[in-house]
């Protein structure tokens, strides 16, 4: 039986400790004497006073309140919650990687640098790009890097005035937020009836101020844009560049490459496509690849090889600067590198095919019970609408998702993309068996039945989770973001 857990502060007992430190074996001097003129803490930080067993039990119990890929199905659309092979974790945990200081002399990091260099090259081959930086820590961080690279390149050819970023209405929220962070204005173009970019709307948006088009392909509807080569030509002819948001790369990897579609810059999410774990919200990794003309602007350093030794190259005068301390989320690189080596070319392509097969199978079975607004083959994910249920009994997508929790599975991404009413974005990934998919279909079929026959059961869900629905309005109105000791 799962139970809520007290806060660690509420477990605290004065004088109890859970640490183990070596003896202070150098002569001790009064702190004030060592730090003349420095103001010292006069009361200790109110950290908990608990033993190691208290800590282990507390966090073990907390872990039991979570859903993860290791527990059951997690079809969160556009997040690619695939299984993360355990060997990846073991490799990243090797002493020679996990306990390597970033400023160790290059001679003492040759294996590490070789791994980074090879990963850069593998990603180039997979993406059809000429060079990669591994520095960005997440997809959104990669997007930011990409727009910075495009603007630096354009400034170098006298096109620095270009500051309009075109974004389809199906895009992730990070795309417009990224463009704004880099001082660009955004123009939204609508999708056509097939779910792709409306070419007329795109044509109308293209002018001499266009910096770039940011595109996710397959898009957030899970649909590949059949016109991608036409779109690329239109944008290039207008003097803009194309940015590929790799969030959905799991839908076409090995079949086509962003570089061959005409994209100039892209990021991959190693935590999606390359099977590194999501960690409860990070760390991820968002390496950025570019075509030749943008290479000089990549952030410093890049991992390179001079034929004898691997080294970090800081000597790149046109670089946009750094995006992150040191060299990026290296632990994540190791997991992705392990994955690529384990899969090989055939395995990666097969993963894409299985992801697409799983998604189309789920879509074909679920469209019997739920509205499918764009009815054509999808790639790795698809979007249903809860509109039939809403019209029938007022049961909304949120209710359907909460009811799914009662069956032990994670719901899809809700209310996104914005262009679909009551959206449910479902991405099964390639690592799920047909049995799991069938179990999920049976659950959604049952919830559809309930929505008609016992709508209140769905509207009141979840019933079996450790907490019920939360009062988010109260949380917003009067934020309580920390515990405080009473008195």
């Amino acid at each position: 039986m799962k139970r809520l857990e007290p806060l660690i502060f509420e477990l605290s007992s004065s004088g109890r400790t859970g640490y183990s430190l070596p003896a202070l074996d150098v002569p001790e001097t009064e702190q004030a004497a060592l730090l003349p003129g420095v103001e010292l803490r006069d009361k200790p930080a109110e950290l908990p006073e608990v033993s190691e067993v208290d800590v282990i039990r507390h966090f073990t119990r907390l872990s039991q309140l979570n859903h993860g890929v290791d527990i059951d199905f997690y079809p969160l659309g556009s997040c690619t919650m695939k299984y993360n092979p355990k060997i990846n974790e073991d490799m990243a945990g090797l002493d020679g990687f996990a306990h390597l200081h970033p400023y160790v002399p290059e001679e003492g990091a040759q294996g590490m640098l070789r791994l980074m260099y090879e990963l850069q090259n593998q990603l180039c081959e997979i993406a059809g790009m000429d060079a990669f930086t591994l520095e960005p820590a997440a997809g959104a961080h990669g997007e930011f890097t990409g727009i910075a690279l495009i603007r630096a390149y354009q400034a170098s050819i006298g096109q620095g005035h270009r500051n309009v970023v075109i974004i389809p209405d199906s895009a992730h929220g990070t795309n417009p937020a990224t463009a704004s962070m880099y001082g660009c204005t955004t123009v939204e173009v609508k999708s056509d009836h097939r779910g792709g970019i409306d070419l007329e709307a795109l044509r109308a948006a293209l002018d001499d101020n266009v910096c770039a088009l940011m595109l996710t392909n397959p898009n957030t509807l899970g649909l590949a844009d059949e016109n991608i080569h036409v779109i690329a030509k239109m944008v290039h002819d207008a003097g803009g560049l194309l940015y590929y948001d790799g969030a959905n790369a799991n839908g076409t990897l090995g079949w086509t490459r962003p570089g061959d579609m005409g994209f100039d810059v892209l990021h991959f999410n190693l935590h999606k496509t390359f099977a590194t774990p999501h960690g409860g919200g990070g760390p991820g990794s968002g390496p950025v690849g570019v075509k030749k003309r943008l290479v000089p602007f990549l952030p410093v350093p890049t991992a390179e090889f001079d034929g004898k030794r691997y080294y970090l190259n800081y000597d790149r005068p046109q670089a946009i600067g750094k995006l992150k301390s040191f060299f990026g989320n290296v632990g994540t690189f190791i997991k992705a590198y392990t994955y690529i080596l384990e899969m090989g070319a055939e395995g990666l392509k097969r993963a894409t095919e299985d992801a697409v097969l799983n998604a189309n199978y789920l879509m074909a079975e679920l469209k019997k019970y739920y509205l499918l607004p764009y009815d054509r083959y999808c790639k790795h994910e698809f979007v249903l609408s809860g509109n039939w249920q809403k019209q029938r009994s007022g049961v909304r997508t949120l209710d359907i998702s909460k009811r799914t929790l009662d069956f032990g599975m994670h719901p899809p991404t809700n209310y996104f993309p914005l262009i679909v009413d009551e959206a449910m974005m479902i991405e099964p990934t390639e690592t799920e068996s047909k049995e799991t998919l069938d179990r999920y279909i049976a659950i959604l079929k049952e919830i559809d039945r309930e929505a008609t026959e016992e709508p209140d059961k769905v509207k009141g869900a979840p019933h079996t989770t450790v907490v019920g629905r939360l009062d988010e309005i109260a949380a917003n109105r009067k934020p309580n973001l920390r515990w405080r000791k009473e008195g």
Binding site: I8, L21, L47, M112, T256, G282, K324, M343
Partner: protein, 435 residues
């Protein structure tokens, strides 16, 4: 499955990929390896690296070899934590949400701030986000930053804010190793959005926060401090010395060195900024059954709602690293965090004194330091570094590679992990290798 779909082949499902963009060949990648082959091959890449389990580490410069309690790995290796994602469904994410809430509380306690977010990519990006928060708060676009902040932090802040028209001036460092307050006061004007210094800075020196706060406040600028979290075990928290935003690199709090990442940036501030803070926040609320529970909150700041008007494009934190830090701070507790900080201080001062007695080693700065210090060396730092490595010691970080004006300067960091014997070995080795 194909029959249920109504497709004849897998290929049919890919018909929408335009022929001209298809990759009609296999990717050119190495042949797949089995687990045992992977272990052998990747193990060989790891084996040659000079890691701190095998070498005695006196290197710092933003990443520190603190002891990582065994319990941490056992917690973060639980699949329930590391195979979850951002807690969008709070009913099945209370583990992540509550641990973030606890983390936020501990960071706020340590820094003397009201609130903390759920963490950011690293200390450098947290600092850049502090600039963004300052700029949107007071609508000023000029920033004054100490030259004593790590070069990576300064570079990241430049890259991050370049597109928003922010200009950054750097205040120089004096012979004491601290920010030149006179120059700082000249640079800060009523157009300055924020003032940022390290506590301690890259050289290990401890800045006079109260003085700097006065300079910032006199012009209405926001005072931002980048602090080493372990130092806050004994130093007065920046919040009590006039800081309004405190950020820093959370790696020392139980996160493996991992060649520079993943780490976590912590970000704490006064309550008045909480509705503009970037990144995720976990808040306490109640559920339909009247129970206390936690949820991601103040989401209207964020990109998935605000899109181009969001405070930041961030849609993740470094949750797993924040969990490591949370477990670390829980284990160390009220007393342990003080003791670990004191040991760093005592051992670093012991080491500095011994090295200062060696011929040819001159301390570069005279100001008070925490666990890191710099020396002008009798031979080039790179040469000393290599000679130490032969003795399985990592040290003598070549400061000149990061600060061109400090050629011939090496820095050393000492953590609680180092023993007196190891420090004495370092000193003996330095004496030999610099002859």
């Amino acid at each position: 499955m194909l029959a249920a779909i109504g497709a004849k082949s897998i290929e049919e499902l890919f018909a929408d990929i335009a022929e001209s963009t298809r990759l009609n060949r296999a990717l050119d990648l190495p042949a797949p390896m089995s687990e045992s082959e992977l272990r052998r091959y990747i193990g060989s890449l790891a084996a040659g690296n000079w890691h701190v389990g095998d070498y005695t580490c006196f290197m710092g410069g933003g990443a520190y070899d603190h002891y990582i309690p065994a319990a941490i790995k056992h917690v973060f290796s639980r699949g329930e934590f590391y195979t979850a994602y951002t807690p969008y469904q709070p009913e099945v994410s209370q583990g992540t949400l509550q641990s973030i809430y606890e983390y936020q509380t501990m960071i706020a306690e340590l820094t003397g701030m009201d609130v903390s977010n759920a963490s950011m990519y690293d200390g450098a990006t947290s600092t850049a986000e502090a600039i963004v928060l300052s700029v949107i708060t007071n609508k000023r676009t000029h920033v004054v930053m100490s030259h004593g902040l790590h070069p990576d932090i300064r570079s990241v802040c430049g890259t991050y804010t370049h597109g928003q028209g922010v200009t950054i001036d750097e205040a120089p460092v004096t012979a004491e190793g601290t920010t030149d307050l006179e120059k700082l006061a000249e640079l800060v004007t009523d157009k300055t959005s924020c003032v940022i210094v390290g506590y301690p800075n890259f050289f290990g020196t401890i800045e006079q926060l109260a003085e700097i706060a006065k300079i910032a406040q006199a012009k209405g600028a926001i005072f931002v401090v980048h602090a080493h979290p372990i130092a806050l075990g004994i130093l007065k928290p920046p919040g009590e010395l006039g800081a309004e935003i405190v950020v820093g690199e959370g790696q020392p709090l139980g996160v493996p060195l991992s060649f520079g990442g993943p780490y976590l940036g912590y970000f704490a501030c006064l309550e008045k900024f909480q509705r503009r803070i970037a990144g995720r926040l976990s808040g306490m609320t109640t559920d339909t059954r009247g129970q206390r529970a936690f949820v991601l909150t103040l989401a209207t700041r964020e990109q998935h709602i605000r899109r181009e008007k969001a405070t930041s494009n961030i849609c993740s934190n470094q949750a797993l690293c924040a969990l490591m830090a949370c477990v670390y701070m829980s284990l160390m507790g009220k007393e342990g965090i003080r003791e670990v900080a004191n040991q760093c201080l005592q051992k670093a001062h012991y080491a500095q004194k011994q090295i200062a007695a060696l011929p040819g080693f001159e301390p570069v700065f005279t100001g008070p330091f925490f666990n890191e210090f710099a020396f002008r060396t009798p031979k080039p730092p790179a040469m000393i570094q290599a000679a130490l490595a032969e003795r399985k010691i990592l040290g003598a970080l070549d400061v000149g590679r990061l600060y061109p004006e400090y050629q011939g300067v090496a820095s050393f960091a000492v953590t609680e992990k180092r023993t007196k014997a190891e420090i004495d070995d370092l000193v003996a080795a330095l004496e030999v290798v610099s002859k």
